[in-house]
């Protein structure tokens, strides 16, 4: 078995080289309570920073998605205090002012791009903040869509911006107010409310299983 040396919170462990950082922590004997959720790159619970000996660059990653390297110095970031403003989705509107009211610090962005460089999902964070500044919420929503809200970007931001929360607000505004309205959904809900399918459903539910089986096995399947 090929092994590498990793330094977990500065302490040295020898671990199999094919493990993820999360796997290496468990292999070393950590029983994780914090810093571990989906184990598959979706929840952002496992934000982690590291340096590799001899290279001054500070890297950020998701521990469940990143393979260990030799001489990696790892510190987990199981919690980062993001600023989350509260708002009533029914009352706010997708105007430029709403960001100014809720997250005014985005206008203090100095353009250092540290957020983008540190994003564990490889997103163009600074650009989506620029869209948010201009009230272009659909664009902000699209560019930030894959955000897992791990908070690493905010930990690197000299302006104190909570990028994931800004993006979340933009996406909710987009989903609720800017994206086109779905008429067929309203129509179907009304049809169900008016009982249009009751007869069909109850006749189906009252059929003997053999008959239902027959219907199922011979149903027409949309291409």
């Amino acid at each position: 078995m090929e092994t590498v040396n990793v330094f977990l919170m500065g302490k040295k462990y020898e671990v199999p080289s094919n493990l993820t950082i999360m796997g290496a922590m468990e292999y070393a004997g950590y029983q994780l309570v914090r810093g571990c959720g989906c184990r598959n790159g979706f929840c952002g619970a496992c934000a982690t920073i590291y340096r590799v000996l001899g290279d001054p660059e500070l890297h950020a990653c998701l521990a469940c998605q990143t393979k260990v390297e030799n001489n990696m110095y790892v510190a987990t970031l199981p919690f980062f205090p993001l600023v989350k403003q509260v708002y009533d989705m029914e009352k706010i509107k997708p105007t430029e002012q709403i960001m100014m009211q809720l997250y005014p610090e985005i206008y203090s962005c100095i353009g250092c791009n540290a957020c983008t460089k540190s994003c564990t999902q490889g997103l163009n964070v600074m650009q989506y903040i620029a869209y948010a500044q201009r009230g272009e919420y659909a664009k902000c929503a699209e560019l930030s869509f894959d955000c897992v809200m791990c908070g690493v970007c905010s930990s690197r931001c000299p302006a104190g911006i909570s990028h994931p929360q800004v993006a979340l607000l933009a996406r909710r505004l987009n989903g609720k107010y800017l994206a086109p309205h779905t008429q067929h959904l309203d129509d179907r809900i009304a049809e169900i409310r008016d009982g249009k399918f009751e007869d069909l459903l109850s006749s189906l539910m009252n059929k003997p299983i053999d008959e239902i089986r027959e219907l199922y096995n011979n149903r027409e399947i949309e291409k």
């Binding site: 894959d146 989903g175 779905t182 959904l185």
Partner: protein, 454 residues
């Protein structure tokens, strides 16, 4: 990234790609499916189940690992618990901060109840966050709740409780609307029409998605809404017992702070169990697609309180878990990859089944291909078959993968596999518990005031 043996097989997959893409494989007959399932599906492995000796389901079979927990001792000593002093006192206590728990909390809040969520990890660290493919509702003109009913009833081998299924299919469009109104960004055409695809076994395209982060998009929106409303969330705290009152009705719960080991008591008028699945029990040694906290807690809490379980012996093995590389062994490869046109191909480059059979049939078929038929591709952890992702772009044009399944592209891209150009290796993974706690259409278990959602 692929080893030599795999690369040799990939050449065969590539050579056959154009022909395979054009092929419309035959669907299996009902008899063929039955025989396949009985021989190859893990639910039919008798030695992996135990008969329960105690509780509401005594005499029934459940997976060995679950039996041990259902019949185990409590982790607390009743003498050390003082129920006279509740640390929390609420109307509605919700156990589990996933999609079901968060939705229940929002609705309870809408109706003026004092509600609290207790959850084992953070709110949103849940299977909901991981759902990729999408959420089904019959809201298109060519579809109807009755067709949805037939698809789901047949897909579940006619074992569903009709009243529950009726509720599901008639309320699903409402649920989509409810989420959309909260700001969930469903995939839509320019005129607002939902972009929907097939799921395994569906006869209409009714799967609504938000790219392949459908669950994440739903979960982060729900979480934001819970926080906006100031609903208290007690995180890193597991419920370890349900408390019953003198009449046997649910009246609260015993809580364990996962970090400090401290025990707390919550009193409530109504208790809702929304603790999700059981994949992390790794039944039969299968890998799982589930999150860290999916350990069947709800089944055990409810069973110990007197509730009855239903179909605890039927599990869903998702046919396409990642089989390679080993860092993502067991992780879900969403069904949408197949809905978009990728087919399952064996070591020789042959398509061996229709890609959109129901999940149990597809899983059993892959297991057959890799075992008795010997047509699997060996990996370091076992074996797998190809899911020929480049077919998607062949059929739908370049850029489709990046636009429709970015999470999949990223998941494999991290390990040097470009799914636009190379196929991926898959094998069934433990995904979902088909059964759960037996409930009425209003969600109550047979224990008074003990509700279940999920």
């Amino acid at each position: 990234m692929y080893n030599e043996e795999m690369t040799v097989s990939i050449r065969k997959v590539e050579a056959a790609r154009a022909a395979n893409a054009a092929l419309e494989p035959r669907r299996m007959t009902a008899e063929e499916k039955d025989a396949l399932l009985r021989t190859y599906h893990p639910d039919y492995k008798k030695g992996e189940f135990r008969t329960l000796k105690i509780g509401a389901n005594a005499g029934e079979q459940v997976p060995t690992e679950l039996a041990a927990l259902l019949q185990g001792h409590s982790r607390i000593n009743p003498d050390k618990i003082d129920l006279r002093h509740a640390d929390y006192d609420v109307d509605v206590l919700i156990i589990g901060g996933g999609g079901a728990g968060s939705s229940a909390a929002i609705e309870a809040d809408n109706h003026g109840a004092r509600v609290m969520i207790v959850t084992k990890l953070r709110i949103g660290d849940a299977n909901t966050m991981m759902a990729e493919g999408g959420i089904q509702a019959a809201d298109k003109p060519n579809d109807s709740p009755a067709i949805h009913y037939l698809d789901a009833f047949g897909g579940g081998h006619f074992a569903a409780k009709p009243a529950l299924l009726y509720k599901l299919v008639t309320e699903a469009p409402d649920a989509i609307k409810w989420l959309n109104d909260l700001g969930v960004e469903f995939d839509k055409d320019a005129d607002g029409t939902m972009i929907t695809t097939h799921g395994g076994g569906t006869s209409r395209k009714r799967m609504h998605a938000a790219k392949d982060y459908s669950g994440a998009e739903i979960m982060r929106t729900l979480r934001d809404e819970v926080l906006n409303r100031g609903i208290p969330v007690v995180d890193f705290t597991a419920v370890i017992e349900i408390v019953l009152d003198e009449n046997g009705a649910a009246a609260g719960a015993v809580l364990l702070n996962m970090e400090t080991g401290e025990i707390r008591i919550a009193r409530a008028k109504t208790v809702v169990i929304a603790t999700g699945g059981a994949g992390r029990l790794h039944y039969q040694g299968f890998p799982t697609s589930n999150h860290y906290g999916a350990t069947a807690d709800g089944l055990i809490l409810a069973y110990r309180a007197g509730a009855k379980l239903l179909y605890a012996d039927t599990l869903q093995y998702h046919p396409t878990g990642a089989a390679y590389p080993e860092q993502i062994f067991g992780a879900l490869v969403t069904e949408k990859v197949r809905s978009l046109g990728a087919k399952l191909v064996n070591v020789n480059g042959e398509v061996f089944m229709h890609p959109l059979e129901t999940r149990d049939v597809a899983a059993a078929s892959i297991i057959r291909e890799c075992s008795d038929r010997g047509n699997g591709v060996p990996t370091s952890d076992g074996v797998g078959v190809w899911l020929d992702t480049p077919m998607i772009e062949l059929k739908n044009g370049e850029g489709t993968i990046e636009k429709r399944i970015p999470a999949m592209m990223r998941m494999f891209g991290k390990y040097g596999i470009d799914i636009r150009r190379e196929p991926i290796l898959v094998y069934p993974t433990l995904h979902y518990q088909n059964g759960g706690i037996d409930i009425t259409p209003d969600g109550m278990s047979c224990v008074e005031n003990l509700y279940v959602a999920g």
